[in-house]
């Protein structure tokens, strides 16, 4: 019964590679330092328990393991990608991902359909509602995350609108019913915390939820297909998902050109290298002096003079809770 068929494997593939792959899949992501510790443990196991110093594992060795693992899983539509963490000092992160991924397939094995539907609404909030040409926050605070606990009818009927008012268009009840009852606030809070623990969401010190490097790698093509207009002029039109002028990766946390209509964005972690190669600190497209004080990400909110941590957040959350209670009474 099919004994002759052999799965394709990279040359020299052995138990050491299999152990690396199992460990990588269980963790989801690896940094180089984590990889050093892991490879030291694996090497030690393969050599009968002798102690191996993690520091002795070189970047070359680590990258070889990554490359071999990638070759091994590629025929199965898995992939290993890497990116630098936009927020935390730019540490490079490798992630084991599904090659053709969307949030539903990613979450459907461990989350209920209601939870999966909520995550889609949360992503819409991050990339549509709180990501406008004026304010590219691409993150939500807890109150904003609670506001989308339940499906709003307008989201179904008005996907492309720039309408930011949550409480409007409630009349389209049929569409709302079709998308389910949504989640209770306590369920949302619990889900958010487990998405953070699972490595899909980041929670910042200021209380903003944003996508982790792993999520961005996993959902890269889905995000672009879902939130960007395919017929837009790539250079001139404002798009919801934008890329770093230096490294070409998605920017959800970084800097923007001081000219409000210019679409040039830059990661904090990329700017040193970028300006070093240029004669002047000016936008490469519109030549406006680059001051680095206009932001993409939560700083679009927190850098504003009116932002008061804590109090502001709590107020918003209360407001959202009241809104939900009112909504519940109406039903």
């Amino acid at each position: 019964m099919g004994d002759e068929w052999e799965p394709p494997l990279p040359a020299g593939y052995s138990d050491v590679n299999r152990a690396f792959l199992q460990a990588f899949m269980a963790r989801g992501t690896l940094t180089f330092r984590e990889g050093q510790r892991l490879l030291a443990a694996i090497q030690s196991a393969s050599e009968g328990g002798s102690h191996i110093d993690p520091a002795s594992i070189t970047m070359d060795e680590f990258q070889n393991f990554i490359r071999t693992a990638r070759d091994a899983v590629e025929p199965l539509d898995f992939d290993i990608r890497n990116t630098r963490d936009q927020i935390r000092g730019g540490e490079r992160v490798w992630a084991f991902i599904n090659a053709h991924s969307d949030p539903a397939t990613q979450l459907s094995t461990t989350h209920t359909p209601e939870e999966v539907a909520y995550v889609k609404r949360l992503l819409d909030a991050m990339f549509e509602q709180y990501n406008t040409p004026r304010m590219e926050v691409m993150a939500v605070d807890e109150g904003q995350a609670l506001r989308v606990s339940r499906p709003a009818a307008r989201r179904e009927s008005n996907m492309n609108g720039n309408d930011n008012d949550d409480e409007e268009h409630q009349e389209d009840g049929a569409a709302a019913a079709a998308t389910g009852r949504g989640l209770k606030h306590s369920e949302v809070l619990s889900l958010l915390s487990s998405l953070v623990a699972e490595g899909w969401l980041d929670k910042s010190l200021n209380g903003f939820y944003s996508l982790t490097p792993r999520s961005l790698m996993e959902l890269w093509s889905w995000l672009v297909a879902t939130y960007n207009e395919s017929d837009a002029d790539a250079d001139d039109d404002w798009q919801r998902i934008k890329f770093c002028e230096a490294c070409k990766e998605i920017v959800t946390y970084g800097q923007r050109c001081n000219e409000p209509n210019c679409t040039i964005r830059l990661h904090d972690i990329c700017e040193d290298g970028f300006w070093r190669t240029r004669p002047e600190r000016k936008c490469p497209k519109c030549s406006t002096p680059w001051e680095g004080n206009h932001y993409v990400g939560e700083r679009a909110v927190t850098s504003r003079s009116g932002f008061q941590r804590g109090r502001g957040r709590r107020a918003r959350r209360t407001e959202a809770a009241e809104a939900e209670e009112n909504g519940a009474d109406e039903e």
Partner: protein, 335 residues
């Protein structure tokens, strides 16, 4: 067990040595009812490869959420209209899982006869089938040599959170150890007494202890999950007269595969902070296992290395350490 491991290792090496990725022509013996499909030279091979890939992905995603891999699920989610291909696709997926990931699907044991209620036994007797019963349900386990199953290598997956996972593994390992050492059965009041002693009679850590809103979970819910995932079996025999103490707890099919006797022995050694002759003797008697193998690393040290594992948790590696028990079963199965 070491013999099996060696065999598997050899098998894996053969895979390594073989020429890479060249699909071999089908053996003549393979031609059966779907011989017509094999007339085409490229098509069926590619199609089978695609089905194998889908089964491997399905198995990995089931394991990720610890749902059992069911034959029905495979037919519905993977094979679709290609139901007749089950054997070939399953065998191919096993090969791929072993060769690429060092894992394989192991069929779960069928329900023990002595786990059936009186009524179930009567029914079973009435419908005495000619075939040996199979569970048609599989779990994915690691087939790597034991040396690779230390916590430093195989950490808990991040399904909910690494900490929650580690606590969960510790709890079901503990309960399964208690049940097994009590002779395979534990009455409801005795289980409750053990849980009280462990200070988890009301609540257990949730799968995500960092969750401010629900760091812990009702013990009932956690036990239910252990039953649903096949770690435990809860039996209530209403027909055996009397109305008290009729609920008993047993080790479920997944529990038997993942928390086998070696795992339980290692767990007990951890609890006792090491091992001596007396403990080994008692373990041999209670678990009917052989001597502690020389070269088995000291569990206590391993645990100390793994920060995520709380209070003497033997480490999540054990979850993966279930051994091949009945993989051969599917070979005999006719479709």
């Amino acid at each position: 067990m070491p013999v099996q491991q060696r065999l598997r290792r050899q098998a894996a090496q053969n895979v390594d040595d073989d020429d890479m990725g060249q699909p071999h022509p089908q053996s003549p013996g393979e031609v059966d009812s779907d011989g017509d499909e094999q007339m085409a030279e490229v098509g069926p091979r590619d199609e089978t490869t695609q089905l194998i890939k889908n089964l491997v992905r399905y198995a990995l995603s089931c394991e990720y959420s610890r749902a059992p891999i069911r034959r029905d699920g495979i037919k519905e989610k993977v094979l679709g209209s290609n139901g007749r291909e089950f054997k070939r696709v399953f065998a191919g997926a096993q090969k791929q899982l072993r060769a690429t990931f060092g894992m394989e699907m192991v069929e779960l044991p069928t329900k023990d006869r002595n786990l059936m209620t009186a009524e179930q036994k009567r029914k079973a007797a009435k419908s005495q089938t000619q075939k040996e019963p199979t569970s048609n349900t599989y779990v994915l386990v690691s087939v790597l040599p034991e040396a690779y199953t230390t916590p430093a290598i195989i950490t808990p997956s991040k399904v909910q959170s690494a900490e929650g996972e580690a606590a969960y593994v510790a709890l079901y390992t503990m309960i399964i150890a208690i049940i097994t050492l009590s002779g395979g059965e534990l009455s409801e009041p005795r289980l409750r007494r053990h849980l009280t002693r462990l200070n988890v009679s009301e609540n257990m850590p949730s799968l995500n202890p960092n969750d401010e809103t629900s760091p812990s979970e009702k013990t009932e819910m956690v036990l239910q999950r252990m039953v649903r995932q096949g770690y435990l079996v809860k039996l209530t025999d209403s027909r055996s007269g009397g109305d008290e103490d009729q609920t008993t707890w047993h080790v479920g099919p997944r529990g038997k595969v993942e928390v086998d006797k070696e795992v339980i022995a290692a767990f007990v050694r951890t609890i006792y902070g090491g091992s001596d002759d007396e403990l080994e003797n008692r373990l041999q008697v209670s678990l009917k296992i052989r001597d502690r193998k020389p070269g088995v690393p000291d569990m206590v040290e391993e645990v100390a290395e793994e920060e995520a594992a709380p209070n003497g948790d033997p480490g999540p590696s054990n979850r993966r350490r279930g051994r091949r028990r009945q993989t051969e079963a599917y070979d005999e199965e006719s479709d």
